[in-house]
Symmetry: C2
Subunit: 712 residues, 2 copies
């Protein structure tokens, strides 16, 4: 039982709090200690026999070098908000919309050559001779058409590394603003390699170099107004990889030219929720190769020094997506992912890397991501920790990771003894689950699920960022449900359909709004996709569509799979509707969650079964098609109850082996270990029962409790 008390836990050490560090290390069973951004481990701790992680941010903390090489800073393309011309000339100040602590106009010749002024009313770029830049006022003067709206897209240096900027702001620091290097320049790469080699040599105590993280932060554009500080925030955005140099290299390799508008798209930019065009896909692939090739040079240096290289998968994560096809080539020994939700644990657990480590929340920070207090007056970090752990635990019941850990400033835990207790429970439960997975596979129902999106494998177990950042997308909720369900899940793209991937699939899920990457957007224009999915269902498969699945305008149906779903959406004035009677099958239980209706959904024929409706619209339907079926839900939101309902839709069976009758209790059956894990997904007591091979097991769990029962 010893290893249930100790190991697999990474503690953030804190200089000046050595005794506390050692005390909590013992309490939580830590076997490794790491420094955090802004802390340095003391000699006392370095000598105590723990594995030592050292946090290394490759691109920042080089301000002195950067000051000598200002052209090696990172940049991006900004675009002003549209301004209306009231006459023949219009003056647009470039920086009016933007946070001047983050950006500075780059009017260098290579940058200026790629600036674009756009007539947004005519939807055309303005010829260069019709505008000029005035450096004195940092504005562009335009020969305008009256009443047209114009934007200027221009290059800006980024003069404050964004995570540093965020931490500064959040924690009220007043240290120097850190800038970031752009490794697109050969002299930067040479400098960094030398610096890393030096660092490794001068840090002999470090066992594991923890890259936090790589080079290019997700796009995070701050605005000038406190009323709209975060103009654009997208985990999936490659906006901060852009520079004239990178564009030039891209163009040399791909043989076509990019424009500012490829990145700006009318101010919409390229959020990960949109369907990418060819230029975007090419750019991403190019950056991914660039990132992986240079990173391999760095991990080689670390390995040559006898250390391991882990990478923290947040912040400057662009180009290092674990499922991008060149991740493995970077040769990391471990992947560390901070997790709030179940899907993030699965994202980490499934990545092709030897060690998977998750950093639990809350951070040891005074306030959390949303600005609410955590380790501060008014905060309740143990409540938060339990809430996050409930989500993460159900994912770990399906798929283990090797390690857990915390982040932040350890001394903040001192005032919160309940949190210290709670972390002891959590680390114990984690080790118990890990041990069971080591002994036995976990029982999975015979339901093979494929989640379809335009991103396919690249976005395995993710949409864009954390749950709350994508919470208005149904697929986020579906994925969070799936993260803890006893089914096989894979993530596929439209090209995979052509490759026959549906052969091993029982249910294909397509969930999202029209035009998004999640519903598939214009990729459904390809009739081959319709053919393949239609044949799949006709042969016995299930197509599960949520909200506006397969929607694309210009065809006789808005939903391209309407013939399978028996449901369509859209403007339908003057057309009669099919009357229906709602008949909810006995196995469909919706206490706690019923899918909402889509406001313009309607059934397309007499043979669509309406299982639920709302506001007179179908909310959950089934339509038999050949040997298979289409199931439609108007929307989806995660809850323990909705996860259970989803499982029922996937299996057609509400009482399968090792599926709890109480949806608030998750089960994981480890047949070889003869163990059944029961986990209470709520902060209330829960009772119920579960059957395994016709044997009924009653349970009673306290709030948040996890029990392991013998089932031999």
């Amino acid at each position: 039982m010893d290893d249930l008390k100790k190991g697999s836990f990474t503690l953030p050490g804190e200089a000046g709090y050595e005794a506390l560090t050692l005390k909590l290390a013992k309490r939580w069973g830590a076997d490794a200690i790491r420094d955090s951004d802004g802390t340095t481990l003391s000699e006392d701790i370095l000598k105590t026999g723990f594995s030592i992680y050292a946090t290394l941010c490759v691109i920042r903390k080089h301000n002195n070098w950067i000051k000598k090489h200002p052209d090696c800073r990172q940049q991006c393309i900004l675009s002003t908000s549209p301004r209306v011309s009231e006459g023949d000339t219009l003056e647009i100040p470039l920086m009016a919309d933007f946070y001047t602590e983050q950006f500075r106009v780059n009017d260098g010749a290579d940058a200026m050559a790629r600036w674009q002024v756009y007539d947004r009313t005519a939807d055309k770029p303005l010829p260069e001779e019709r505008w000029e830049y005035h450096a004195d006022t940092q504005s562009v003067r335009i020969q305008a058409a009256p009443w047209h709206s114009y934007t200027v897209s221009f290059f800006a240096w980024r003069i404050w590394e964004e995570i540093s900027m965020y931490n500064h702001t959040t924690n009220g620091w007043d240290t120097e603003h850190l800038m970031q290097l752009d490794p697109v320049y050969p002299q930067v790469r040479a400098y960094l390699k030398e610096w890393l080699a030096d660092w490794c040599e001068s840090n002999p105590h470090t066992d594991i170099v923890r890259f936090t993280s790589l080079y290019y932060n997700f796009g995070w554009i701050w605005g000038s107004s406190p009323r709209n500080r975060f103009l654009f925030t997208d985990w999936a955005s490659y906006d901060f990889t852009v520079s004239p140099a990178m564009m030039t290299e891209f163009e040399a390799e791909y043989g076509y030219k990019l424009t500012a508008e490829d990145f700006i798209r009318g101010g919409r930019r390229n959020p990960g929720h949109d369907v990418p065009d060819k230029a975007r896909l090419d750019w991403m692939a190019f950056v991914q190769r660039f990132v992986s090739e240079f990173t391999r040079e760095l991990t080689d240096i670390v390995h040559r020094c006898g250390k391991l290289a882990y990478v923290f998968y947040d912040d400057s994560w662009i180009g290092m997506e674990p499922y991008n096809g060149c991740f493995r080539q970077m040769n990391f020994d471990g992947l560390i992912k901070c997790v709030f939700s179940g899907f993030e644990a699965r994202l980490c657990a499934d990545a092709p890397v030897p060690v998977h480590e998750i950093r639990l929340h809350p951070y040891l920070f005074p306030v959390g991501l949303g600005g609410a207090p955590t380790f501060a007056s008014g905060g309740d970090p143990s409540r938060d920790a339990k809430a996050y752990w409930r989500q993460v635990r159900r994912a770990l019941m399906r798929k283990p990771v090797e390690r857990i850990g915390l982040g932040g400033y350890l001394h903040l835990a001192e005032g919160f003894p309940e949190f210290v207790d709670c972390m002891e429970t959590i680390s114990g439960e984690f080790r118990r689950l890990k041990a069971l997975h080591q002994k036995s596979g976990v029982y999975t129902l015979p339901a093979r699920v494929a989640v379809l999106s335009v991103w396919g494998k690249l976005r395995t177990w993710t949409l864009s960022g954390h749950f709350h950042e994508a919470a208005d997308h149904d697929l986020m909720h579906i994925i969070e449900c799936l993260a803890g369900l006893p089914v096989e899940v894979r993530f596929i793209g439209f090209d995979d359909l052509k490759r026959g991937v549906l052969q091993g699939v029982d249910t294909l899920i397509c969930a999202g709004r029209t035009g998004t990457a999640w519903s598939g957007g214009e990729l459904w224009q390809d009739k081959q996709m319709v053919e393949i999915v239609t044949e799949f269902v006709h042969s016995g498969g299930t197509f599960f569509g949520v909200n506006e699945p397969s929607a694309v305008l210009g065809y006789s149906n808005t939903l391209r799979m309407a013939h399978v779903l028996g449901v369509d959406i859209g403007e339908h004035s003057c057309h009669g509707g099919w009357q229906y009677t709602v008949q909810t099958p006995a196995h469909i239980r919706t206490a706690g969650f019923a899918p909402p209706a889509h406001p313009s959904a309607y059934i397309t024929g007499a043979d669509t079964e309406v299982w639920l409706d709302a506001d007179g619209k179908p909310a959950l339907t089934r339509h038999a098609f050949g040997k298979g079926q289409g199931i439609y839900a108007g929307g989806w939101r995660y809850s323990p109850q909705s996860a259970k309902l989803l499982l029922t839709l996937l299996t057609g069976d509400a009482a399968a082996d090792a599926v709890s009758g109480n949806p608030c209790v998750d089960c994981a059956w480890f047949p070889k270990a003869g163990a059944l894990v029961l986990a209470n997904q709520t902060d209330l007591p829960q009772q119920g029962s579960v059957s395994i091979q016709n044997k009924r097991i009653a349970f009673s769990l306290t709030a948040d409790e996890m029990q392991v029962t013998d089932v031999k």
Copy 2:
């Protein structure tokens, strides 16, 4: 006062109920008597000195002639619902979806030459050699691509005139099914002219020939399933004007060919809510000219016989729209419009014709349009009559008509004495309003409003059909509000914008969903429209946008007028939102109605004033622009309160002259007559006050009451 008791009222006479007819004529002050469909006036009534209207349906009651000339029946193009091919061949039965009492396949050579089989998956017509028609099974056999969906568009004879079919069904008749003639054929026109001349000669008692109505019914396609009887119903549809002959004549004149798909549009057809393409506009203009030219031949016959010609504007109204530019040419002496709502009264009142007559509801029928009982057990016709009258009365307060009347079977009134009383009150109120309008203009506030749609003048005071048929369109509600407001209203199209019509306009209204005729759809792609409306607002005008005004995809904003409104809509993931504080100006009163929020609306900058919000989205906003402003509302629904709110938005003043402080009471001030009409828009007592030239007038009204007060 005598004329407040008598005149301007048309009573439906009923054979066999002569005494009742005369009694009610006296009670309600009727001065004219007409027959209804299915009744014939007796000699007794014809001799009593009333004006006599005779109802004449031009196209039906010619079954004997039609049986000899079956090729002169009307027809239309039907399209089967899409069917999925499971293999290389697919058999589609043509009539499976359709009501066989209404339609019969027309497989004549001229019709067959225009049939189309469509691959809806590939969105392409199938070459003729890949399908064949089998007359024995009335089905089309297709050489199909597996898993594609196909439709067949084919000609069908219409074998039961639709209004007769509806009356039959509603009233349980079992008389012969009446068919309809198509005047597109010269022999039909010759026959009808002879028949009409004969009829006029043999009906010397008739003073007014009341055409009920002309030739082409609005599109009304009935389905085979009782669960979806009304497959398609559109007041504005020209679907029933289509025949191979009409298409051939069109093609000869316009020089291009039409296909079935021009009318079918992927099964969507051409509802009046959609933006028309050129073929549709050309077709409509062609039919309108055809209808007006032939009709003029008929009215000339009537006039030659010394009678007047009125036309009933319902049912077979296609091609005779009062605002289509060739209506006047038909030379009618009167227009009769059945009305449930205020906008319908205005539609009638503004038409270019000497006499305007409205037919009040409820009809003297056992059941109403929705199938609920009226003059039958469980019905309350006086309640219904009051509710409709409230709506119609407020319109008549703004603009008079010359006559009112009823329709249906008079004997049904016998069991409903309250209805008889109520009609006496209504006819008295009507005559009083008419008399006031004759004495004096009605006071109008200095607010000139233009309603913009792609239809412009053609759809003056209407969208498509009755209120309930278009009730999911915001503009229907706006127009019903406007019908009773003391403002100038005109209806304009996009071409009118180019012609400078905004010079005489204070507020331009654009209200509707993306892609509809009401929001303007792709007509907003024309940058000139944006320029014109932008300049209009900048110079001091108001652009009032509702729901998705000026929405069109493919530009930097979804709403083309976003720069004026300070609001945009649409998928906006990853972009930050402007924080706002709701500040409702004192004059904006929303008790009883607050505009709903659009689910994806957001303000575009710091200077948009949010007057109301809902669900965290702006619901009513104002944005100053130049000397003018953009006002945005997320949606609109008619109520007395919303009408008042709209008036306030149009005038910027909640307490203007002759505007009641109680929104449930409408006022009309007749300055020359020194009279103020106060009308209670509810079935509850109402109190309040109204000011006229700084003189405050308190009022107290019983339910439904109309008062006329001296203001000298």
